[in-house]
Amino acid sequence: MANSSNAVGQEPIWSNVLVVFDRRAVGGIAALVVIAAIGWLVTSGPLAAGALPTGPSVAAVGPGGQVSGPPGKVIYDSSCAACHGMQGEGTSNGPALTDSGAASADFMLRTGRMPLSAPGQPVTRGRPAFSDADIQALVAYVASLGTGPPIPGVQVNDTSDLAAGRAAYIANCAACHGAGGSGDAVGGGFVAPPLLDTAPTQVGEAIRIGPGVMPVFDPRQISDKDLSSIAAYLASLRERSSPGGISVGGVGPVAEGYIAWLLYLTAFLLVVRWIERRRQRSDRPG
């Protein structure tokens, strides 16, 4: 007489409690979960642009490290000269490097922005193409091609002035890179990248050289001490796990709004449907 697989009095407890949801609800929830997962993967998961490590983290690099391996000129001639010229004078494919200095070269190489696979490719963050020793050699060679800012001495340790770093960061950097260092579009097809995974020395180099469309900050405008403080503040933002829980991308109310709707459309509607389906189930004729 019962049309379910078990007789009425022997239904398992869990099926009494949970109630099987109808296929549409399950399908809808599955679709939402898949969309959310894709969204996470693309924005902050392994597939996110710029999620690749920016190369070996160098806590404090002075100008003139030890050079080992092939001399920088050999690497330069084979990997860089085609676009930047044999003497770094520039070509139609790439700018001159005579006023780049060690800071520019180190920044571009360690963040994987250079070398480009072909002229005209977009300049984006990625895995460094050279080993640490090769980069040091290249940097020394490019620095010798002209004059330009040296690699700044960025110190991040327990005595760093986080408060000064925060204040300087908000005043000079937050407008493009976001108060939480999560980056944002700046128009013209450019993006100010997220900074939480950037090595302190690269943070300092970027401030001094103004890569891409970034402005240049003279040492008299942002002192070397402030440079270290800013890098230390960014490091503290990364290390200090958000006290409120999962930080959804650090982009503020946009992400929070999507989460609120996602939760509403799944959890709350689920609960409401569950309550009514329990009633309908307890209405089925025996």
Binding site: A163, D184, V248, I259, A260, F268, V271
Partner: protein, 452 residues
């Protein structure tokens, strides 16, 4: 001489008066509530899952009030500058307002403070989402038709109050992000010809930023708006109670009856359970997902800004209007019409007026002025379905446009190109969706009538 409760017990054949008998008798001797209470407890409410959506919104509001009361004990609505010297190292030594300092203390030094703050904020975000879904249900099933026009108006009022409550609420910590939003609010009022600057000065107490602002918004947020809100919700529920709930067609349902279950005990217990489950989800959100981390934004500094810069999602449509709006700023006979005027004042004004007056507009357009207690399935009113779908689509496009810079990074496209596309979508998408909804509804209605 037996007491009334003992008389009652005798009549029911019980050995002695129970506690309940005594309690009921005690109350009734003083208020005469027995008859009214019995009538209330036996009131019939129909069942459908979509009828619970309004309750979800209501329970979100209860959570808001409960957590809000906690927060008022710790918040200082004062813009006087103080030096932060709490446990959050990157802020130490910074000059902040007392309001910001109190929120930092609440987040880092008061036990369960951050939890309460975050539950409060998530509850606000979900509250408005719940209202939107609830209003959509009311709209698409025609529940606003006579005699429920008043309740529709009150509901629209509650929605607007919720928006203002949210804006004033998240602006209280006086942080960089919300302060920027207040600047935009001020400028939007500014954009009204003739009245604008005067109105902006009146609300804000002078040229932005003013020292009175946070205190004034605090009064709005904890006193004026909750008073209006609670009054509005009470009348909303009272009218629903008196008019009895609508119901879907089918079964024994007719215009002259209500088919459902008694208020007590089933509906009361079920709603109580829904309340606890709503609160549970909000508690989980509040504990596990960070929201509005004001220590990252830092205190409001009028010459600093951070991006991305957005208001909370329920004002995203206004943000989208401002971002998509054209840069027209004509000067007519010496009067400048500022460029935010059209997108931020005129367009929302027209849409909200139409939204508020919809029951009357639809009655006039359809010629249907009769009483309705049976709901319609959404496809049974294709024109209404089309207009509502178009309006919702516009709302979604505008809200998405409010976050166009974040979306541009996510999609790896340029902000300018995306803005251009969204401008076109804002016109095209509602039309396409509306027409599609209309055709589908007509088809479905034809199917139903063919079978019936």
């Amino acid at each position: 001489m037996k007491s009334p409760s003992e008389v009652a017990a005798d009549r029911q054949g019980r050995a002695g008066a129970t506690e309940l008998d005594r309690l009921v008798a005690w109350l009734d001797e003083r208020t005469g509530m027995a008859g009214v209470a019995r009538h209330a407890l036996r009131k019939v409410f129909p069942d459908h899952w979509s009828f619970l959506l309004g309750e979800v919104a209501l329970f979100c509001y209860v959570v808001l009030v409960a957590t809000g009361v906690f927060l008022t004990f710790f918040f200082a609505a004062d813009t006087r500058p103080v030096t932060y010297d709490g446990p959050y190292a990157p802020m130490r030594g910074a000059q902040v307002s007392a309001a910001f300092d109190s929120v930092m203390r609440l987040s880092f030094e008061v036990r369960a403070g951050l939890l309460m703050r975050q539950i409060h904020h998530w509850a606000a975000l979900v509250f408005v989402a719940a209202i939107v879904v609830h209003v959509s249900r009311i709209f698409f099933t025609g529940a606003f038709r006579r005699p429920r026009e008043i309740n529709w108006l009150i509901g629209v009022g509650i929605l607007l109050l919720a928006l203002v409550a949210g804006l004033t609420g998240y602006s209280l910590p006086d942080d960089l992000l919300s302060g920027t939003g207040l600047r935009i609010t001020y400028s939007a009022a500014f954009a009204i010809p003739f009245l604008g600057p005067w109105l902006a000065y009146l609300i804000f107490g002078g040229e932005f930023p003013t020292a009175e602002l946070i205190g004034r918004f605090y009064v709005f947020h904890i006193m004026l708006i909750p008073a209006l809100m609670i009054g509005g919700i009470t009348v909303h529920l009272l009218i629903l109670w008196i008019q009895k709930h609508t119901q879907f067609p089918g079964g024994r349902a007719a215009e002259t009856n209500v088919v459902g279950r008694h208020f007590w005990p089933g509906q009361v217990f079920r709603s109580t359970g829904l309340f606890f489950l709503t609160a549970a989800i909000l508690a989980l959100l509040g504990g596990l997902v960070q929201v509005n981390p004001v220590w990252v934004y830092g205190p409001f500094i009028p010459y600093a800004v951070s991006s991305p810069a957005q208001p909370d999602w329920y004002l995203g449509w206004l943000e989208g209007l401002l971002r998509l709006g054209p840069n027209w700023e004509p000067t007519i006979l010496g009067v400048t019409i500022p460029s935010p005027f059209l997108p931020a004042i005129i367009v929302p004004g027209i849409i909200f007026t139409g939204f508020a007056l919809w029951p009357f507009i639809e009655a006039r357009l359809s010629g249907d002025h009769s009483e309705h207690h049976i709901l319609q399935w959404p496809w049974q009113a294709p024109a209404r379905l089309a207009i509502g779908s178009a309006a919702l689509t516009l709302f979604v496009v505008l809200t998405i446009a409010g976050g166009n810079d974040v979306l541009a990074v996510f999609l790896h496209v340029g902000v300018e190109e995306l803005t251009g596309v969204l401008r076109i979508l804002a016109f095209v998408a509602p039309i396409v969706v509306g027409l599609t909804a209309y055709r589908l509804a007509v088809e479905r209605r034809r199917q139903d009538e063919g079978e019936g």
